[in-house]
């Protein structure tokens, strides 16, 4: 049992490391592929060489980033099997489909047209090249769509049923999986946040280039495109973030409570703008709060109730319609989960014995109790509470930086159109430079909220992490974790170094097409 816990912890660490590193590169790929496609469209229409050289400059940075994103992406797919083998079988009938569709529809498109985009300038027509560039951008977003369909299904499992004979979950409604509102919202949120990240990257690098005096025109043109993409991105990100909060309050109320460090909720619940979480005392100290804010965010109703962590443990929650109800406490869920698991054991024994009456009885008990199957693996209600502090701080960092980014986009567009003389100042360079790490912190914080906040579930209410792992030793996972950490560190260092050189090249000499 002790080894199992260690295997689970190291497997979680390894997956978290891979996902965090992968997410360093994905949003930039999503956003910059769109920005490049817009630039090439302008070049196609104007035939102006300045747009061609602008596009090619960003393409070089795109390619460097794309390669390492691909490298880290394959690891995640493998790790579902290598480290979460139980998961792969228990829900593979549902989860595998989006992954396969992603590969077929998106990866081949990206891989095929990426080659045209970079090496096809003299081999295909201008129109074909433009189409290829757009197909890469579309492929990248399609890939995000299907992976987020898969991810959303883990957080809000729909379109499935449990098959006791096979002891696994099976798909019953593909459309429900593919068009889950949680999936669509996640898709918009993740993709448009990628636009924002790439826009900040382009604006930041452009500020650095402009400050050197060379290629100022190219830098300004880049900020114009990036500014509009980023502004659209941040507006959509905030809009979908609002939708996400409402969904989380309905389908993962524990995550929302952890995001706010809220232990006991109330009607007209305030939202924390800043504060220091004291987990022992179960309160947020030194806080700056907006009255009614969380009730409005979660339910779009200032006088609604938002349950806290202890409320949920005690069984006070919201219905999908947003009404406050007394529901099943976590202690009762654990009992129900254990009853479901016992019924499954009884079913298996009765089936082997050929006792049809006992089979029917067991099936009825499985059906009645399966909703809380995963709680049967817990010994205490506290086992179902996510790491509160990490979720709380990540959420607030994300929101705070998000607000700053909205202002940054507005200011960037104002400067580049109305006050171009401010563009190549030291202040602009510093703001641009410092915004680059900030947007990455914001983006990673968002993923931490989404993934840490849903712990300990791999499948919400159905399969906790300890029942999802592979039968490998903790030492094995420890070794591969450190190997990954070393390889990632080495590759990230190389990527940053190459990027810096390329940017320096852009600021030190005239860029040519």
């Amino acid at each position: 049992m002790e080894d199992l816990i260690q295997v689970v912890d190291w497997s979680r660490l390894q997956f978290a490391l891979t996902a965090i590193v992968h997410w360093l590169f994905v949003p930039l790929t999503i956003g910059i592929s769109l920005i490049i496609a817009v630039m090439e469209t302008i070049y196609y229409r104007t035939k102006s060489e300045k747009w061609l050289k602008t596009e090619k400059f960003w393409m070089t940075l795109f390619a460097i980033n794309f390669a390492i994103g691909v490298a880290t992406g394959i690891i995640l797919e493998f790790e579902f099997g290598t480290n979460w083998s139980n998961y792969s079988w228990f829900v593979g009938d549902i989860f595998g489909a989006p992954l396969a569709i992603e590969g077929l529809l998106a990866f081949f498109m990206e891989a095929t047209f990426f080659a045209v985009m970079f090496f096809g300038w003299k081999k295909v027509s201008r129109g074909f090249h433009l189409a290829s560039t757009w197909l890469v951008a579309i492929g990248v977003s399609l890939s995000a769509l299907w992976i987020l369909v898969a991810n959303a299904w883990m957080q809000y499992p729909v379109g499935m049923e449990f098959d006791p004979a096979q002891m696994r979950n099976v798909m019953s409604d593909f459309l429900a999986v593919a068009t889950s509102p949680v999936a669509l919202n996640k898709f918009f949120h993740a993709v448009t946040s990628g636009w924002v990240l790439a826009a900040v990257f382009v604006i930041g690098v452009s500020c650095i280039i402009a400050a050197k005096g060379r290629n100022k025109e190219m830098a300004k043109d880049s900020v114009k495109v990036a500014g509009w993409v980023g502004l659209a991105g941040i507006i959509f990100t905030m809009w979908s973030g609002d939708g996400s909060a409402v969904q989380v309050s309905r389908v993962q109320p524990m995550k929302l409570a952890a995001m706010e460090g809220l232990y006991r909720g109330q009607i007209g619940q305030e939202i924390i703008g800043f504060g220091i979480l004291d987990e022992k005392e179960k309160e947020v100290k030194c806080k700056i709060a907006i009255p009614y804010g969380l009730s409005i965010l979660a339910n779009h109703d200032a006088n609604s109730f938002v349950p806290g962590i202890d409320d949920l443990i005690d069984g006070i929650a919201l219905t999908p319609q947003g009404d406050t109800i007394n529901t099943v406490s976590y202690a009762e869920r654990i009992e129900i989960g254990k009853a479901a698991q016992q019924a499954l054991r009884d079913y298996e024994a009765a089936r082997k014995a050929g006792d049809n009456a006992a089979v029917d009885d067991a099936l009825a008990r499985i059906k009645a109790n399966y909703q809380y199957f995963g709680y049967g693996y817990f010994t205490s209600p506290q086992d179902a509470v996510p790491p509160v502090a990490l979720t709380f701080y990540s959420f607030h960092i994300m929101v705070a930086i998000g607000g700053y980014l909205l202002a940054l986009m507005v200011v960037a567009l104002f400067v580049v159109y109305k006050k171009p003389e401010w563009f190549d100042t030291r202040l602009a360079r510093w703001v641009g430079m410092l915004s680059i790490p900030l947007v990455w912190i914001c983006s990673e914080a968002g993923w931490i909220v989404a993934e840490v906040g849903r712990q300990p579930w791999t499948i919400q209410d159905i399969l906790p992490v300890q029942a999802a792992v592979s039968a490998v030793t903790a030492q094995s996972v420890q070794i591969t974790f450190w190997l990954f950490a070393i390889v990632f560190a080495a590759l990230i260092a190389a990527e940053i170094s190459i990027m810096v050189k390329e940017v320096k090249k852009g600021s030190d000499r005239e860029i040519t097409a």
Partner: protein, 377 residues
């Protein structure tokens, strides 16, 4: 349901065949070891660099399709043969950045390091994928107990031997598969370069000699492998559901499934034609098309021989009753049906890949083109 399982195994086999053909990228990377001069190395890398993503993507899609259609394989093999898959994974991670980084300023470790990564992927990735395929034919040390999911202390369904795939890497039969694939990939790589690089007669002749040499080694290994497979025991599922060992099972399958035998013979003949034309016609450039098509057909037929006719496609040497078949490891009828509708898009994907390949390879790559291309690797 049975038809869907057969259909999906066929798709897996086609993807597997495409993957083995595209491993010419890895084969080409392994040729870097014996290539002298930076111009020649750059030519090889840039030629392969326009195709590496296709191989990589095919590997990912192969994995994804296996996950979607036969999840018990995914959970048993990946979770069990941990070290084998991790080694494959690491080699591909190193490859993915190497093309882009190798000649970029500021890459920290120098071109030679990234070329070494390509070499590692070329050798290790190729051989170990062969080893993973070998496990399908010659078995693995695992058990599958679905009821384990209810054991809170040890809830894992598929449990492998403690060596976790290292035993598969040291099995000579699996290594025979690995090295056969490796030399096939090297032969195909040399043939591909003859077709897609234009750097004068000397370079062409060097590639030709490499194709012939690696082709000879491949043919010898392949004949040995076929002999081993056809004389090996396989496992079959009896009508009562019991799994039993059957001597010469894979040979029997070929006799009982005449069309699989036909495809195998056709595939082998095509590979031999491509090899022979290259060996006997000094200026012949088209060998890759023959061997490429032959490779795909041969792999498809071998994978069909492996799994059809009630055969266990991954036998358990620990507990034969745990062996995987296309019937006991597949997704449900509903999921396979949904996925089958999606698979109707495969021809569209193949069509645009074919079209783009033709456009991009219409003229052979030259040193001048690399020099003039700001994005060359």
């Amino acid at each position: 349901m049975e038809t869907l399982q057969i259909y999906w195994w066929l798709l897996i086999a086609v993807l597997g065949g495409a993957l083995v053909f595209l491993l010419f990228v890895q084969g080409g990377q392994s040729l870097l070891l014996e290539t002298r001069g930076s111009v020649a190395k750059n030519l090889i890398v840039n030629s392969l660099g326009r195709k590496w993503e296709l191989t990589f993507t095919t590997l990912v899609v192969f994995g994804g399709a296996f996950f979607a259609s036969f999840p018990l394989f995914y959970s048993t093999s990946f979770g069990g043969a941990y070290w084998l898959w991790m080694a494959i994974l690491f080699s591909f991670v190193l490859q993915a950045v190497s093309y882009e980084f190798r000649r970029k300023k500021g890459n920290l470790y120098g071109t030679a390091t990234y070329d070494a990564f390509l070499l590692i992927n070329g050798v290790v990735g190729c051989v170990l994928i062969g080893v993973a395929v070998g496990v399908l034919f010659f078995g693995g040390q695992f058990t599958v107990t679905r009821g384990n999911i209810l054991d809170g202390n040890a809830p894992v369904i598929s449990v492998w031997a403690p060596s976790h795939g290292l035993e598969a890497i040291t099995c000579w039969k699996n290594l025979l598969v690995g090295f056969t694939l490796f030399f096939l990939a090297r032969m195909n790589a040399a043939l591909y370069m003859m077709n897609s690089i234009d750097d004068g007669q000397k370079f062409f002749n060097v590639c030709r000699m490499k194709a012939i040499l690696n082709g000879i080694i491949f043919v010898v290994l392949f004949l040995g492998l076929v002999a081993v497979i056809l004389t090996s025991d396989g496992y079959t599922v009896e009508p009562d559901g019991r799994v039993v060992a059957v001597p010469y099972k894979y040979a029997i399958n070929l006799i009982e499934m005449w069309w699989v035998l036909g495809v195998l013979v056709l595939g082998v003949v095509l590979v031999l034609i491509g090899f022979a034309l290259t060996a006997f016609k000094k200026s012949y450039r088209g060998g890759i098309w023959w061997t490429g098509m032959g490779t795909i057909l041969t792999i498809v037929s071998l994978l069909c021989d492996l799994a059809y006719n009630n055969t266990c496609y991954m036998p358990s040497l620990t507990d034969p009753q745990s062996s995987l078949t296309i019937a006991n490891s597949s997704s449900t009828e509903f999921t396979l049906t949904v996925m089958s509708w999606v698979s109707l898009l495969v021809p569209v994907v193949l069509l645009y890949i074919w079209y783009v390949w033709g456009k991009m390879n219409a003229t052979p790559l030259t040193p001048k083109e690399i020099e003039e291309d700001s994005h060359s690797y």
